[in-house]
């Protein structure tokens, strides 16, 4: 391997893992949470003939997944530059 591991590699990896954990909490919250387990708790909020949980299960979770992946890509590509580990 030609590349050197930068001295702040540990901090970079920690920041990455933290970002992944936050993203996965949101990932689980919208699908397993709002879409399934918390659906009864959200049943008071009606959306077009049904409730918010149904919307999350069939539409909302997918939209949040999309937002998460793009947010992660943007944030990580920025972190790469901050820590000087981006590809030249």
């Amino acid at each position: 391997m030609a590349d050197k591991i930068p001295t702040d590699g540990v901090a970079y990896w920690k920041a990455n893992v933290r970002l992944i954990l936050i993203s996965l909490v949101i990932w689980a919250l919208v699908s397993f949470g709002f879409g399934i387990l918390l659906r009864p708790a959200l049943s008071g909020i009606s959306v077009g003939g049904t409730d918010l949980g149904f919307w999350f299960a069939q539409q909302g979770s997918i939209l949040v997944f999309l937002g998460l992946i793009f947010f992660y890509a943007w944030r990580m590509n920025k972190l790469d530059r901050q820590f000087g580990v981006d590809e030249e």
């Binding site: 391997m1 990896w13 003939g49 299960a57 069939q58 992946i69 992660y72 990580m76 590809e87």
Partner: protein
Amino acid sequence: MDQTTINIIFVGASFALYIGIAIWARAGSTSDFYAAGRGVHPVTNGMATAADWMSAASFISMAGLIAFTGYDNSTYLMGWTGGYVLLALLLAPYLRKFGKYTVSEFIGDRFYSPTARLVAVICLIVASVTYVIGQMTGVGVAFGRFLEVSNTTGLLIGAVVVFAYAVFGGMKGVTYTQVAQYCVLIMAYTIPAIFISLQLTGNPIPALGLFGEHQASGQPLLERLDQIVTELGFSEYTAHNGDTFNMLLFTLSLMIGTAGLPHVIMRFFTVPRVADARWSAGWALVFIALLYLTAPAVGAMARLNITELFWPEGTNGQAVSVEQIAEDPAYDWMATWQQTGLLGWEDKNGDGRIQFYNDADADMQARAEAEGWNGNELTNFNRDILVLANPEIANLPGWVIGLVAAGGLAAALSTAAGLLLAISSAVSHDLVKGRFAPEISEKGELLSARIAMAVSIVVATYLGLNPPGFAAQTVALAFGLAAASIFPALMMGIFSTKINNRGAVAGMLAGLIVTLVYIFLHKGWFFIPDTNSFTDADPLLGTIKSTSFGAVGAVVNFVTAYVVSAMTKPVPQEIRELVESVRVPRGAGTAQDH
């Protein structure tokens, strides 16, 4: 012009396009063949990934699965998209940085173990072969229905087309054909959905129409649907009826399985940089979401249309008459699909009308008694015909039907090509070069990859023509293997420096074996009928169905790998350095020309 001619024009034009691309994008090197020269733009790769991922199951079956079950089958929507979050955050960028050609190669190098590589290759080939059978039979069915040729002829035409662009173009040819196939399949899926959404709700966007107003009744569409299906004794469309724990586990298994499917992962080897791999996963989900956000609308609207066709006076009035089915053009689709054996009805009580209702429901039994019905008379409605018959059910113009024919074929062919590529790279790169002939030249390896591809197509075609009786069951097997063996091994390889060679092999085998045994206990040993000890209606462990077991297998894999690694020799220093280097993007360019 009759419908078959229109269909032939649409399918013929799309095939000519794929062949044209094949001639333009020939592979000149192993890097072209395995990874399209690592020069694919992230958006292009996203589109190709979407076509690769969306199979005959997504295109043809998913809306039907949702239509006839309702909310409970939202699991497919969340599971098959949520996996991309795992792929984007946990696997794709690091595997791109690693910069090799196959998933098993990473496992072999990271766990410094040819055995680990071999176990991964076996899982990869079994998962991909079982998956490809379904695609090939799908090609045959679509041809048979739309082009009025026999299933066999249809399958052979499909195989020749895949042969043309996959054998000569490898990953490069497959990538650019998949882009074209994505365009065909997404148009074929959304155009009829837009028409139907406009007809029912006046909203041109199906995903919004689903939560809009049903214009004919003035009620919200989903409320209307809940009302008419419950009036016929079926369970409420938007209600949760199944077991919650199994629903959670099934969703999780689909997510982990999606992230672990090798033919999807290897698409991320084709982009130039690590940053591109991150963006590309997002673009893949954008293109997938266009179909997945539309599918629940297609399902709900089709269920409403079909129910209303059988009860033209409303669910409390008279059912549709046999003469009307025979004479009214709105019911022509029924005769066409009856010929395929996928749709059937029978006037059991001889009253000249076809009553479609849930005859297992107590209230409906009382009504049936009062009105002299003799059971549900829509005796057969295969849910797979829903998307293909949808344009006819909604009375859309002939060209829309031609487009749907081309779209169904595009979905099946693009996935088949991706799977065949995964199989042939594993054979030529992991087995031929990795094990039997390490000294093979670049030219020799390229030739062996082409031969492996040709042989895989012949085998897949044979299995498509003579599908083993268990073909329908095997998708669960493919997802189970990917979830229980491949995904955990990859994730631990990147996120832990403690897992060693023995831990990885023991983990993969443990995950694989418990998952296989659990599936076989419920579906029969090697899928031989009547050799099962349990059924999914009454499973061995609580409410966990065999299709939901992949996530449990993954946990077994993780735990076994940690325990065995803790008890055996620690990971050598050079492997720790390999893991450190995979974690940072810098240097991905140099890894390109290894």
